[in-house]
């Protein structure tokens, strides 16, 4: 059963990857109404994630599939239990993904504005709801003896869950705006830096409350790894402040890097607070889903481990290469040239 513990962290790694990567492109999507003053500006913003949004989103598919394969009980309880929340996330992701690809297909402002709205809503809704979902997983939800969730959508909308949602919303927003500042030039870049400075302050306040609450919960629940929870929460807080300071000094790369580190540390804080449960039951602790009782067999996990061991480094390598290929800033003049060429 040791492999199940390994897989608890591999699944955690995949969700960390997902929240860091899709996190910033949710933020980029949400920043459109704030930073996109005209169509060229909006295209500049969208093109910062054009080549990568799809690979970023693939992380959730892989995380979901690995969750299914390594922890079928967890997957089944979570997905059937958080039904309506996931439905809304799915609808948002559909609307958003299609918009990236279809927005530029017609040269009509009305057409483009329609898709812009879908990008903004389709980015904000998952950014909020993923936080609600993860916070609720860690806090615990009503689960019966058969591992079935017995609550409803309203169960998830409790203060801690909502604060978790607000935290990811703001965190992803700021993270995305850092990315825009890092990847554009001209007016958009300057606006992004100013916006990040303001949004960063709100994020620091909200995230601090959420992290303290998480630590407090872990302490009162007697989480076995509470020392790590506290340490990681502190790392997250420090990184968050460091990213804000880096942005204030105009060091965009570091602002984005610390922003990413904040998300890594914050998700790990939650993951360690969860350990060794995977979905604690508030009905009766005896009904909780744990790493041991929710996992697949050793045989399956062994095979999965080989696959992950071989392919995850490869995936990381070629995705890093992709980011390197598209390392250049998306300049306003490039979009203007493309617009001019398309008009002929």
């Amino acid at each position: 059963m040791d492999l199940a513990y390994l897989w608890f962290f591999i699944v955690g790694f995949l969700f960390v990857g997902y929240f860091v990567l899709d996190g910033f492109d949710f933020g980029v999507g949400m920043s459109l109404p704030f930073l996109g003053k005209d169509d060229i500006g909006r295209r500049q913003i969208i093109n910062t994630i054009g080549p990568v949004w799809d690979l970023n989103e693939t992380w959730v598919i892989v995380a979901g599939a690995c969750l299914f394969a390594a922890f079928p009980e967890w997957y089944a309880t979570l997905f059937s239990g958080f039904y309506l929340a996931l439905l809304v996330i799915l609808l948002a992701l559909i609307a958003r993904g299609v918009s990236f690809e279809y927005r530029h297909q017609r040269d009509s402002l009305r057409w483009k504005r329609g898709f812009d709205t879908m990008i903004v809503v389709g980015s904000a809704v998952p950014a909020l709801l993923w936080g609600v979902a993860v916070a609720n997983i860690v806090q615990g939800v009503p689960i019966d003896v058969n591992h079935e969730f017995t609550g409803s959508l309203l169960t998830l909308l409790n203060p801690y869950g909502l604060l978790g949602g607000l935290t990811t919303l703001l965190l992803f927003f700021t993270h995305g705006v850092y990315f825009v500042a890092l990847k554009t030039d001209g007016q958009v870049r300057e606006d992004a830096r100013r916006l990040a400075a303001r949004a960063g302050l709100a994020t620091i306040v909200v995230a601090a409350v959420f992290l303290v609450w998480t630590v407090f919960n872990a302490l009162s629940a007697g989480a076995p790894l509470v020392g790590l929870v506290i340490a990681l929460a502190a790392v997250a807080a420090v990184c968050l402040i460091a990213s804000w300071l880096a942005n204030a000094r105009g060091i965009e790369g570091w602002a984005f890097g610390f922003g990413a580190a904040t998300i890594v540390a914050a998700v790990l804080t939650l993951w360690f607070a969860l350990f060794p449960n995977v979905m604690p039951s508030t009905t009766d602790p005896a009904y909780s889903l744990t790493i041991e009782n929710a996992s697949s067999t050793d045989y399956t996990l062994t095979i999965m481990s080989w696959a992950a061991l071989i392919f995850l480094p490869l995936v990381l390598a070629y995705q890093a290469w992709t980011y390197w290929v598209f390392r250049k800033r998306v300049s306003r003049s490039r979009i203007e040239r493309a617009a001019a060429a398309a008009a002929h």
Partner: protein, 481 residues
């Protein structure tokens, strides 16, 4: 009928979202390869027509691919959302191919598609060409793992039951990956995907040729489509024949249901009906046009082979093999016969029509042809696209409806797989929401596809025009959203 029955609603939702997703999957599989081939032709010959064809079909490919990606996420979430009992029961076996698909195939596909779209002016030509080939390989591997997962539902192998009987546990992953159903379904699916792609190319090329435009690009495209259609139809037929042999040995009820064969029959009696009229309750037959021996030949590759009928199989399943499930299905282990019977025929019929279009097309456009291709022929050829698309969709309706009443053949009934704690109104809400958003997107998508198809590739430069200034000929197109 209870409108808020979660089982019924979950089944409709699965059918709707899966078929909708599958509108985009086969074209992705086939068009990725086609684009890779066209780009390779440009890379090797430097002939601009191949570049323009690459860009043009690449555009169609991407419009289609975007929808495939976003509707695919629904598929993976849906198992847990609507079918949690199923997920708990098979996760140990079924999850692994899905995870492999993500790690080994889908990551490749998504990453390298991005590199291909935006990498035209950022990568060396050869590396850029490699990205579309890697994306194609990713898509195909993806298909293989998904088919391996599906094959477990049709013909569970490589597992043992847990000691408490609560779930299936994998004990032989190699057996799961080499499930005979998966190995037979893979070529069938890939060939069919390429048939559809050929259909699309034939349609688009015919539309342009009918109007006499873009001749120097559309003529080679048409030829590619026509030959592609014929060759892959042969592949579809051969692999389909293999698949039905496997089906007879693993799921005899499905074959019996494909033919609506009630009583076991041998030799000449094991006939294949091209058309039939059944009694209104679907339990008998009033009249049918039959080809003797054909069913025996299809099922056993022998003229005097025997094919088991629905009634005999039901008897065997109820008393010997699966008595524990018999009460739940009222002793009837057959799927809905009118669905399987007609789906099987429409699949074959539409596929054959599409292939026939290609044969006629090759004849009319042969080098020694004395007359130009008549307008009606071009107009007819445009229908190769919908014909091949519906053939492949209906094929999946047959495969999945033919599996009923099982969600995993011999192990679990569909009715036992549904999430027990999701209220009917939640499922209804999601069904309505998906139907609405999918319908809206279909209108947008079809509009874009038709618009892009009609607009055609960028025209080739005029050969009589003076050569452009140095540097302007640099054909490194760029993509900007």
């Amino acid at each position: 009928m209870d409108l808020l029955d979660p089982l019924l609603l979950a089944r409709w939702q699965f059918g709707l979202t899966t078929l909708y997703h599958f509108l985009f999957v086969p074209l992705t599989l086939g068009m990725a390869l086609t684009v890779a081939i066209f780009q390779t032709a440009w890379f090797r010959t430097g002939n601009l027509k191949w570049l323009h064809l690459t860009r043009f079909f690449g555009k169609l490919f991407l419009i289609n691919f975007a929808m495939g990606v976003v509707t695919g996420i629904v598929q993976e979430f849906q198992f847990g959302m609507n079918w949690s009992s199923y997920s708990r029961f098979v996760g140990d076996v079924f999850g692994a191919p899905l995870a492999f698909e993500g790690l080994m195939a889908f990551f490749f596909e998504a990453t390298f598609i991005g590199l291909w779209i935006f990498g035209w002016d950022k990568l060396p030509k050869g590396v850029h060409l490699a990205t579309i080939w890697i994306a194609t390989a990713g898509a195909w591997f993806s298909a293989y793992f998904i088919l391996a997962a599906n094959a477990f539902m049709q013909n569970p192998v490589g597992y043992r039951m847990a000691q408490d009987g609560g779930r299936a546990e994998m004990d032989d992953f190699l057996a799961v990956l080499t499930n005979p159903v998966a190995l037979a379904a893979l070529p069938h699916t890939l060939f069919a995907a390429f048939m559809l792609t050929s259909g699309v190319i034939i349609s688009v090329a015919s539309w342009h040729l009918l109007r006499g435009q873009n001749l120097e690009m559309m003529r080679p495209a048409l030829k590619y489509g026509l030959w592609g259609m014929i060759v892959t139809f042969a592949g579809v037929a051969i692999s389909g024949d293999q698949l039905s042999l496997v089906m007879v040995s693993t799921q005899p009820m499905k074959m019996a249901a494909a033919e609506a064969l009630f009583d076991s029959a041998c030799g000449a009696d094991a006939s294949f009906s091209l058309f039939s009229i059944g009694t209104p309750d679907g339990t008998g037959e009033i009249w049918a046009l039959r080809v003797p021996y054909l069913l025996a030949l299809l099922s056993t590759h022998s003229l005097d082979g025997c094919v088991e009928g629905i009634n005999d199989l039901n008897m065997q399943y109820t008393t010997e093999l699966f008595p524990q499930f018999a009460d739940q299905v009222d002793g009837n282990f057959a799927p809905i016969l009118w669905v399987t019977y007609w789906a099987f025929r429409w699949m074959i019929g539409l596929g054959a029509v599409a292939a026939l279009t290609a044969v006629v097309g090759l004849w009319l456009t042969r080098k020694s042809a004395k007359r130009p291709v008549p307008a009606w022929a071009w107009k007819l050829a445009i229908w190769a696209w919908p014909a091949s698309l519906f053939a492949i969709l209906i094929g999946w309706v047959f495969t999945e409806m033919g599996r009923q009443p099982w969600i995993v053949f011999s192990l679990m009934l569909t009715q036992d797989g549904v999430s027990p704690n999701v209220p009917g109104w939640n499922v209804l809400l999601s069904l309505v929401a998906f139907t609405l958003i999918y319908a809206i997107l279909a209108v947008v998508e079809i509009g874009l596809i038709i618009r892009t198809s009609k607009r055609g590739p960028d025209p080739l430069p005029d050969p009589d025009a003076p050569p452009p200034a140095e540097g302007a000929l640099e054909d490194t197109p760029t993509t900007v959203y």
